[in-house]
């Protein structure tokens, strides 16, 4: 079958690889009908995530048709159409039972690596380095889905693939980011990053009752989508007065909560700290570039919440922890507990409260995925979200 494989920094290729097999009783095999490229995949492409190996199959946003199930998968039948969460979770452990699915104890075969780096292991993830299990991903014609009895959700026949696909990651991710803000009536939520995750965070903030959303990016078509689709007010981060503007727009108080939907590869506009970040990352003195996060912490009102769906992996430099402490901020973050949100968000889609396909700008064949990575990374051709059809 064809699969998109990682071969090194800025080197992904579509290769012919063997079809996946059932390896465990709770596995299923899915024939992938749609898959997407995510901002998280760009961190892999750019070499920011360690423990990648040549030949790893990427892709953690995919859906399709069940073609084979292991002996212990009783809830799925061959022919079912399902969306697959990017988090691989057992459903049985302390964390899964508390709906902290991305923190599952039991699904990372390489648990020793995160234990060394982070103290404890987190869940296995599809197509996201050997640190999170080394599971082959779904940018392929077929994929093996472990713990298929608790992960995949069946999609009703009247929904299009494109309406359901983003249940696998970015819709729950934006939604959890907004939910983590504990939004109350009258709240203003500021969102850094108008990529797909930011777009869903904006919509979700309104769904959860925010009065205003202010979105920050510099890519014109993304700002435009935040304005038209998301009904957000927008700011350009090349503008060096983001903090002052946010303060001004909120009557001098600051946003009630701030969402960092940018992550470890933030661009810094013209700011001085951003130049330092780049220099430090290049000189191996820091691993991540937390410019958006710094700004979010600085801008957040006293007693507010900083919610971080953007991915960080290592050591961050010059985080204004004093500001966070003195202002009594709350921090919420982490990989999304996708399984927790599948059914409630599927219901929102079915009820017509949201159609997640609004974010799609490009549809391509799997064979053209390397080109897709290229234009998505470089924000060419007004690209916001790419869906691949194997």
């Amino acid at each position: 079958m064809k699969a998109l494989c990682w071969f090194g920094k800025n080197d992904v290729r579509v290769e012919d690889v063997p079809e996946p097999k059932i390896l465990n009783p709770r596995d299923a095999i899915i024939r992938v009908t749609r898959t997407a490229i995510c901002g998280s995949d760009l961190h892999l492409l750019d070499g920011y995530i360690p423990t990648m190996e040549r030949g790893d199959i990427l892709g953690h946003e995919f859906m399709g048709e069940v073609v084979e199930v292991g002996g212990e998968v009783k809830n799925l039948n061959v022919g079912d159409r399902v969306a697959v969460p990017f988090t691989i979770s057992c459903g049985n452990c302390f964390f899964c039972r508390r709906e902290l699915w991305s923190l599952c104890d039991n699904t990372n075969p390489n648990a020793a690596i995160p234990e060394k780096l982070y103290g404890f292991t987190t869940a296995g993830l599809f197509g996201y380095s050997h640190m999170t299990g080394g599971y082959a991903g779904g940018q392929a014609e077929y994929a093996r889905v472990p713990f298929a009895d608790v992960g995949p959700v069946k999609i009703p026949g009247h929904l299009e693939d494109e309406q359901a696909l983003f249940l696998t990651d970015i819709f729950p991710t934006g939604y959890m980011a907004a939910e983590n803000c504990d939004i109350r009536p009258g709240d203003t939520v500021a969102v850094w990053g108008c990529g797909p995750v930011g777009q869903f965070a904006i919509k979700s903030a309104y769904l959860l009752g925010a009065s205003r959303v202010i979105a920050i990016d510099r890519v014109p078509e993304r700002i435009e989508m935040a304005r038209t689709e998301g009904r957000a007010e927008t700011l350009d981060f090349d503008d060096e007065y983001i903090f002052d503007k946010l303060k001004e727009m909120t009557g001098g108080r600051g946003p009630d909560s701030c969402i960092d939907a940018v992550g470890m590869e933030a661009h810094g506009g013209g700011s001085f700290d951003a130049y330092l970040d780049k220099a430090k990352a290049a000189a191996f003195l820091a691993t991540d570039r937390p410019h958006a996060l710094r700004q979010a912490i600085h801008s957040c009102r006293k007693g507010g919440t900083v919610s971080i769906p953007g991915v960080y992996g290592g050591f961050l430099d010059k985080i204004p922890f004093g500001a966070a402490f003195q202002k009594g901020l709350t921090f919420k973050m982490g990989q999304t507990h996708v399984q927790k949100y599948l059914r409630p968000l599927l219901k929102l889609i079915e009820d017509g409260k949201i159609d997640p396909s609004f974010v799609i700008t490009h549809r391509m064949r799997l064979e053209d995925a390397p080109q897709g990575y290229h234009i998505f990374k470089n924000k060419q051709d007004n690209c916001i979200k790419i869906v691949l059809k194997p």
Binding site: R13, L23, P50, T287
Partner: protein
Amino acid sequence: MATSETALTQEQIDRGEAPQGYTRDVNVGEIERWASAIGGGALAVYGLTRGTYGGIALALLGASLVHRGTTGHCYAYDAAGVNTAKSASDNPFVSVEGGRGVKVEKSVTINRSPGELYNFWLNFENLPRFMNHLEEVRVTGDGRSHWVAKGPAGTSVEWDAESYNLKENEMIAWRSLEGSQVANAGSVHFTPAPEGRGTEVRVVLKYDPPAGVLGAWVAKLFGEAPEQQIEEDLRRFKQLMETGETATVTGQTSGRTAGA
């Protein structure tokens, strides 16, 4: 930073001394500890920013120094025999002479009742399902069993063992019988965690590796260490008991299998 520490450690071990600041639980001196944390941090950062496997090795080495720095616990000292408990007449591990061999102790919390875990473990023939270095355990009756383990370089090591000190749903202990190639003993303890949070499982193993104490230390550096091994075994035990299977990617497809 890392090299000078290693040298210091090595010297102390050669002299048979514990390093300064030594106590039973915290065996790395205070100053050395801060040095480890800072030096380790920089190493980890350096390793992480290089997107290669070599980078990871560095990151992990750095991380283990950070770990050592923040916990004050250096595995090498343990593996080298510094810090192992002295023999006492009430030591249950009678098949391994006091002051000799390697002792490891690990805990894990499992979302099952003590009874379920006890019963699974009590049938020693189940052990190879999660202890990867075991090829087979055959129960020969009368509390006795025959164990076959993978030895170094494709060989295998065999011994007979007996169980003793069984406390239903609480504890199982076993020890190798006289004349075993690898004298070893072990015990597993099951304690209910508070408020229905499953069971805390603690395993204590002690054994005398064929090449002596230093052999295990060297083995540790190459990844076949007893500490790591028991940690991995316990992880698989937990996976098996909680999920019915052990997580794996062995045998999955990739662009490597394509010969690309």
